[in-house]
């Protein structure tokens, strides 16, 4: 029962909150951790989904568990060219800051988050094969190369602290958090080169493949699943001069996870011919008994190991800065998040915030990312009372509702409670 309540609470947080990574408002930064506050808390949700080939309409149907019609498939497939890059980052969590209330302006932090990261670079032929089946390609050799699929889910329990220092209106804040990570699952498949050929009549299927794979529990069951243990640190520095400017740098997910449960890793450099059940079966030439993922991977990766492996987390680096104008009535800034290990390697934003008497602010945003997507959106912040604020927004308002456009979706929401 206790678990259920926790789960429910977490899901509510995940669904209702949107967010940010630090305890300042990206689009109108202020030191919310000021020492005259007893504590600050927030729950948040933040998501980015980008693809240079898969459309919003297709991904929406996919995620709604709908039937993917031939028309939808055709519309989608016609947009594909070469390799399709896609990334999805989702983080949901809660932060709690407790100020020391003394001269040293130290604050204590604890929090938790759940992250889902999917990242891929997929040869369009694979998607064609997935959409249409192999009959369409009978008699043709599909040369599939440079394909990479990465997916990981994990939860972090964080503790840390921060300190404010500075003179007059200029304040520096340095904070850090150490995390214990409960890894839920991990999948990474790299296809260096592969040829797939279906004989014209379907008499045999040839597959040659050079690939590497590392997996830990491919079937995610629930939020409580633990298949790996790790640790990471988050570091943050910000500089703010009241009513003048703000600069900040933060690093998140700098750490490792040791994946130990249901782990599977291996390399393949093999050629297989599937030609059906035979009387004189050679194990390498038989049709699989079934097409389950586990069975297929065991056929391709024959010498795989089922032993623990350790992987780096997909770290990100966030840099932001901005300038206040007109006695803090306006704030103009830039923000860039770098994802060094992902195919969507950065998201950059330019924004301009109008602050209405510290009660309400609205921020037009123009964003650009490494998948060459230029989007625009809007963020708002409402201070409902002295203690409660809500922030929400999306930099994808110009793209999210265009079902034919390459997917660019996401947004954030956070609830902040200050006392």
């Amino acid at each position: 029962m206790y678990k259920l309540q926790l789960f429910f609470l977490f899901m509510v947080i995940s669904l209702m909150s949107h967010a940010q990574l630090n305890n300042y408002d990206l689009y109108l930064p202020a030191n919310t951790n000021a020492s005259d506050n007893k504590y600050t808390s927030q729950i948040y949700y933040n998501s980015h989904l980008n693809s240079n080939g898969l459309t919003n309409g297709f991904l929406n149907t996919l995620n709604k568990s709908g039937y993917i019609s031939d028309e939808l498939k055709n519309d989608q497939y016609e947009q594909l060219n070469g390799h399709v890059l896609s990334s999805h980052n989702m983080i949901a969590g809660a932060d709690f800051w407790i100020n020391s209330q003394d001269e040293d302006k130290f604050s204590y932090y604890f929090g938790f988050d759940h992250q889902q990261i999917l990242d891929s670079k997929i040869d369009a032929d694979i998607i064609g094969l997935l959409f249409y089946g192999n009959k369409k390609y009978a008699g043709k050799n599909l040369n599939i190369d440079d394909t990479h699929l990465y997916s990981t889910y994990f939860n972090r329990m964080k503790v840390g602290g921060g300190i404010d220092f500075g003179d007059g209106d200029t304040k520096h804040t340095i904070s850090g958090a150490l995390s214990i990570i409960l890894g839920q699952n991990y999948e990474e498949l790299t296809i260096h080169k592969s040829d797939f050929y279906t004989q014209q009549e379907g008499e045999y299927i040839d597959l040659s493949i050079q690939a590497d794979i590392e997996l830990a529990d491919t079937s995610w069951a629930n939020i409580w699943t633990i298949n790996g243990i790790g640790s990471s640190i988050d570091l943050s520095y910000s500089l703010i001069k009241e009513n003048n400017y703000h600069l900040a740098l933060s690093i998140k997910n700098l750490g490792i996870i040791n994946w130990r449960n249901a782990s599977f890793s291996g390399s393949a450099d093999t050629s297989l011919r599937f030609q059906g059940i035979q009387n004189d079966d050679d194990q390498d030439q038989t049709i699989p008994d079934n097409f389950s993922f586990d069975n297929l991977r065991n056929i391709v990766f024959k010498d795989a190991r089922e032993e623990a492996f350790t992987k780096m987390l997909p770290m990100d680096i966030h840099i932001t800065g901005g300038k206040y104008f007109s006695n803090s009535k306006f704030y103009a800034g830039v923000s860039t998040v770098f994802f060094p290990s992902l195919h969507r390697s950065y998201i950059a934003e330019v924004f301009f915030t109008w602050n209405h008497k510290d009660k309400f602010h609205i921020t037009p945003i123009v964003a650009y990312n490494s998948l060459e997507q230029l989007t625009a959106g809007l963020a708002i912040g409402v201070n409902i009372s002295k203690s409660i604020s809500i922030r929400a927004g999306s930099s994808y308002l110009t793209s999210s509702f265009n079902s034919q456009a390459p997917a660019a979706q996401g947004g954030f929401v956070s609830f902040i409670f200050i006392k």
Binding site: T61, S65, G66
Partner: protein, 522 residues
Amino acid sequence: MITALLLNACQKDKAKPKWNVDLLIPLISDSITVTDILDENFFVENPDQSISLVFSEELLNMNIDTIIKLPDTLLSFGISLDFLPQPIAFEPGDTIISQLFFLPIELDSEDFSNMALEKSIIRHGDVVFESYNQSDTDLKVVLGIPKVYHPESGSFYSEQKVTQNEFFQKAFDISDYHLDFSGPNHDTINMLSYQVDLIIHPDEPGTVMVKPEDSIALNVYFKDILLYYSRGYFGHETYAFGPEIYEFDMFEDIDVKEISFDEAEIWIEIKNTFGEEVNINVKDITAINTNTQESLSLESDLLNTDLFIDRAHEIEEESGNIETSTSRFDFSESNFPEIFSIQPNKFSYELSVETNVYEDSASLNNFFYYDQPIALSIDAKVNGGLKIDSLFQESRLEWQGKDLDISNVSEGNLKLVFNNAFPFDFLMNIYLEDKDMTIIDTLTYQLFMKGGHLDENYFITAPYETKTNIPLGDDLKKNINKAVFARYELVLNSTNNEYINIRSTDYLQFKIIGDFDYLIEQ
């Protein structure tokens, strides 16, 4: 693989999209080669990969009865006590007489007159021991034959009580006994020794008187002796065999309609397993087909001619390990093609065997083993092709249909593709069977598959492809999953009813392919 992984990744978010794909999936693949259709014992591959029908069929084998049978031999020992000057008293257990005799076995009939035996092993037979006691005393009579011995139980030895004035007879099985005819100094032949002891029987109540008029007669028979092995010199003899009829079932084994022997190479091979050189003189060979009542006699220059075959050699005496001597005689120029054309199922023959052609009686190195008779066989290699008529073949393979998830097949066909690179036409039936091998569905029945394309020499130049589609209805879907075996039946006929030539590379390949509109459902 990638598809599965992508779908797997999607599964985390519990998204369960569905869509249809068109799949071509090889389900079953099998090949039938020459060795699956024709008994490989009858075929040989030539350098050009063509297949020639070859067979080596034994016409007859022969052991020479005169050699392998030891004549029934009677050895009589009349022991009279008339050398005693007067009755003498003996106590129970006293030996009256103990004597060792050396006597040759009786080989003085005409058949055996030139036979000099050094050693033999008995296949089966008896020693019969007879005694007549003409005295007033019970005797214990001991008969030992030291040179008749069993490798495990030792020399033949028998003690028998022979009651006063009575006749005694007993047979002893001496199968597997060895006979050493070489005498005490291993320098003679046909000789055996016998130890005879007459003893006052220990059961006598007291002193007995043995009188000069008392006597005892002993007879020892070697009876119905068949030899497994002999070594020595068997004499320069000529033995006649036949006329005798021999079964010949080659044509039933090959199971073909007609064979063209026009280009046949035919040999008679004689394998001499005896340790004596022989001349074999074939007087007559006549082929008989009892079904058609046809018969035809061999005509050849090699008839009534001595066909010499050198002697075999023993690698180790008595071991059965011999190096045979084989000679082949080319009968290709005979009328064997015509003889085979009647597809005989019997042969009658008449021949003679002349042994020890060189008449070397000094070496005593003749030998024979009963289970390795002289064999005469016919070897043929047929290059002229054959006709096949309604040859039936079948095979069963595991279907593993339960593992094929076809429940999501919206519609589709099973595509059957046959590539026939045989010079045969096939009629094919394919059945699905349950675990009890009961037919639950028929995929094809009497499907005609034309033989491959032939060149002017009736060799295959290209396979002939036959395709058929079977709609995948609900019943078939169920049966595919339920099936445990797939069984096919083939009926073969020569293409165009011609004599056809076969290559080792000829094949029939068939595949069952799923051509499915498949609903992928996560």
